[in-house]
């Protein structure tokens, strides 16, 4: 089992992250990855100039580790990699990259999905969109919370 998390202020090259992950996941039959990208528009169609991700040094890293640990404990995967950006992010840049490797695809899909739902609702970040009309804070939506709660229910395996 290989688990890695990284918090970085530097741009994330998702293609390089995926290539490195696949190379290190030798023996797995399935790799699923997710790349979250800063959108150029907010929910009202307004132009977003920049996304600002505030973090709490120390606690934010631990929240990523906690989410990774909860994911590897729940699913039969052989490796998991989470990279999360903080600071000022331009539209089109990668905010988050998650990859899971497993013997079979289903567990890899579910593990990546689970990690993302937890990242959306439990990772220690505070997000602000800056546009021409000023900046506004982004908090988890009802949809994000509903997605997170799916994992609290007993699912038929």
């Amino acid at each position: 089992m290989t688990v890695s998390t990284l918090l970085t202020a530097e741009p994330i090259a998702a293609d390089a992250e995926l290539a490195g992950f696949i190379a290190s996941a030798r023996g797995a039959g399935a790799v699923v990855s997710f790349t979250g990208i800063a959108r150029p528009q907010d929910h009202h169609g307004g132009h977003v100039q920049q996304l600002l991700l505030e973090h709490y040094p120390g606690m934010t890293e631990r929240s990523l580790d906690t989410i990774a640990a909860a994911t590897v404990e729940r699913f039969e995967i052989s490796s998991l990699h989470i990279v999360h950006r903080y600071g000022a992010i331009d539209p089109g840049e990668t905010i988050v990259f998650v990859a899971a490797a497993a013997t079979h695809r289903r567990e890899a899909f579910r593990a990546a999905d689970h990690a993302m739902d937890l990242l959306k609702t439990e990772a220690m970040f505070w997000k602000r969109e800056a546009g021409v009309d000023g900046a506004r804070w982004i908090e988890p939506s009802e949809r994000d919370r509903a997605d997170r709660e799916r994992w609290d229910q007993q699912w038929p395996e």
Partner: protein, 79 residues
């Protein structure tokens, strides 16, 4: 009186600034500190504003010791 550092994250940080040091009464809990700060801005009394003491998520009855780092933060969202 013990002195503690308080950090604020998210929208609550706009009300209080990012960081401050204050003196707290002995045997001060997170709830007590929240009530002291609420005299300045009521927004911190909201149940959605969580707290951490020593970088561990805290409850209202968690006691704050001298030199502890306390944080109050708005709802989190990554990804």
């Amino acid at each position: 009186m013990p002195q503690v550092t308080i950090l604020f994250f998210g929208s609550i940080g706009e009300l209080f600034g990012g960081q401050r040091q204050i003196e707290i009464p002995p045997d001060c809990s997170v709830g007590d500190l929240r009530r002291i700060l609420a005299e300045e801005h009521k927004g911190i009394a909201a149940a959605t504003i969580r707290a951490a003491v020593g970088q561990q998520v805290a409850e209202e009855d968690t006691l704050i010791g001298p030199g502890d780092e306390v944080a109050f933060f708005s709802p989190v969202s990554g990804g």
